[in-house]
Symmetry: D2
Subunit: 258 residues, 4 copies
């Protein structure tokens, strides 16, 4: 049984999936989409439901799947490094994040983490996302528009030094090269007893950030890294994948006290 | 500035934190809590805010922190194995999970994953959680009551064979020893184009589950494992922790097609 | 002080090292060697010692280093997959391998592991190395000639089915796609109480091999995998490398009993 | 067929193996050995060969296996941390180590690495092993006596500051808390173009050691860590082990230049 409200319409997001290499996050509109297996007229998706398939002009079949947070965050148009789902996942469990939460993010980058935060503060929360680079910010805005989550984000084209404009927020994520420089500002804006998170790739950033957190009134400071390895399951030939990203960054979490 | 509505009151959840070994998830009530550093009268927390501290009768200080999903899921009273945050995190990014979603979980176990799902379907969604073992179910119910998330869960004391009662759900999580036995039932209840997830510890479970998914109308099947390693940051002595859980289970995700 | 016998002469092996990307295992002979940093006349190395440097015609400096087993095994000319040092290292500790040992290896492949075995059975031992593919065997012979270790290897161009020619050997290494097929033959040739090793990439190969070992009179069966991650140490920017080979194969070891 | 010279005699080393938890490295002598499965009179092993079994007074069977380097190094009597086989293995491939090599090791510790080095410099090489702690040194000596490798080791009860007594050695291993303090001394003793190795647990030790190596005339500096995970292969229940040592130390290798 297919409900009318389950039918795909103009503006909906879909994952067009052929295989692990060919899968695309797209907005349904009157446009042609080109793949190496032929062309798909996206308007043909209207009236279908998720789980249906669509054929290219070369009669190659693609499935129409419901996108997950994984695709929403990984398939943003990238102008910067993004946060990977393996790291994003642990942030979601270690943050003081919930529907209705007010959170600050700095910097926005390509809007990958912004997407995840917006997704989980819905329907009453808000993400205040700071980025000093205009080009990155415009790209991130376009990504959030496409993802359908821009109503839960307030973008701020501003370089923060001493203070964020928002106070009493539930969670702060710092994703810049020198996170220690914004710990003072974060302290002023974060609700007491709540969490701050940051991610940095090098040992030196980790120690400088952690020691600054210790000095500036944070406790329950935790540092960790996450590895993800796929298993390729094929009859008689099941094995782990051969290459993995072995390092993206170290994640640091801390709780503010008075 | 402390807002009145930020003050801790009877029934609130707090994380009483002294150090990485001594931290407790507690509900504020008129009760004494015993630690190896002395006794805390929980009623003394009323009127404080998160970020404040409290002293035991031995004058040892504990901080009053806002709990995160990490503690809500890890500190359930356990009658079974639970799903670890490292695995939970990747599930949150790979599932078709969002505020308002209807999801099925089987089996409930100790309610750890139930907690995470309930947290993220709020405020309009619902988790239908099946468990055939009465003792486990009662324990899980008590855990969700404590966590304050039971309004978003409907517990079902039932063994599923052919069919779940709910249809057209957004996401299904199977966490039982032989997940392949419930893939047929899951297919009937899951919205097309949406995701199913499962976790299993052994190679044999992985291959049997994946091959069953392939036969029963699922695509975009992915199998993976996640490792998490903490870094102990101490002046002049920073190093990774020495022992880690190196294996909990392999995670499998798949999308239903018509 | 430089001893006469430390001077490099025609036929010696050297590692010409510029940086982690430009380093070459070479035999000193009257020949020109071309790099992207210019040409080196290898005869100019004669009379130098290890630790000296040499310049290309473009005045770029390369250091003349003593090769290690790492380069001897990694820099063989490859016609097949080779065994990586991370796996080789654990084999060296888990094998009944020592100076004077007689060992069987099947198949030879590109001679990478053959090199390591030959290195450690010196000066009185011998490696019997079986390979059914003539092209692979000829390439491996050339690799061992270059490495200077061919005196400790007897190459055998033969497909083994029931029996190896040698009996009472100290260690057997099976490196073929279906190791279980040669466990019977290995049992006949291996000294009792001594070790057999094999490496295989898939889960299915692992289980079939281990169950065959259990049936055919082996105990102390161990299966493991090894991961190696480099750390890039640079002032203020120290971090783990970003991509690693996350899977080469699972190593299996077992001891023969009567 | 059993050769006379294969028969076990007084003084031989054996691995008495029952299962992965009960296996013991022992020297055959007229002594009783107590296990939780009963008592074994070691003299009963004389005349047996490896691969035979022996019974305790409670009729529990143990197999008599040929020890490998793994057991020789892991089963030393420990007074200090030892180097694990996973790390030892990569050292064996990255060192300028071969039969006949002269090598320096500092500090001896419990003699675990000393055992590995002695094993592979045989029959004409020598290990010069420095240790300032008399208790550790005596213990290490006893371990090497038991392992049958003491003829290839010269123990030195001495604290090194500026200089080792040996010059022109093929390989130097530094295993002390502040390896950078001995890099100057190592430089004077190591053959040019040859390798030095060290292992240290913390980030700060790694950076200080690497920067000192860079200053003191070393190139081809490499830092790495190794993880080993066992797979438990059981019919229908094959899975990785649940806990692993996730960090022992970072290994550093470097080549001396003029």
């Amino acid at each position: 049984m297919v409900y009318l409200f389950d039918m795909i319409k103009i503006g909906d997001l879909v994952l067009l999936y052929k295989d692990e290499k060919r899968n695309y996050l797209l907005k349904v509109e009157s446009k042609k989409f080109h793949t190496d297996k032929g062309i798909i007229e996206l308007e043909k998706l209207v009236g279908k439901t998720y789980g249906d398939s669509v054929e290219t002009n070369l009669r190659e079949r693609f499935f129409v799947l419901k996108p997950t947070l994984y695709e929403l965050t990984m398939k943003v148009k990238r102008k910067t490094q993004i946060i990977y789902p393996k790291d994003l996942g642990i942030i979601l469990t270690k943050a003081t994040l919930f529907p209705g939460a007010k959170v600050i993010e700095v910097g926005t980058g390509s809007g990958s983490l912004t997407t995840a935060l917006a997704n989980f503060v819905r329907p009453n929360g808000k993400v205040y996302s700071y980025e000093k680079n205009k080009e990155f910010l415009d790209n991130a805005k376009a990504n959030l528009e496409k993802n359908g989550l821009s109503s839960w984000v307030e973008f701020k084209h501003r370089e923060v030094i001493d203070e964020f404009e928002e106070k009493n927020v539930d969670f702060i994520m710092i994703d810049i090269g020198s996170p220690w420089e914004l710990i003072g500002a974060a302290y002023k804006s974060l609700k007491s007893g709540h969490r701050l998170a940051t991610i940095c790739p090098t040992f030196e950033q980790v120690t400088q950030t952690v020691f600054t957190l210790e000095e500036k009134g944070f406790v329950h400071i935790e540092t960790m890294e996450v590895l993800l390895r796929r298993i390729l399951v094929r009859r008689g030939k099941t094995r782990p994948e051969q290459k993995i990203p072995s390092h993206t960054g170290f994640l640091i979490f801390a709780s503010k006290i008075h």
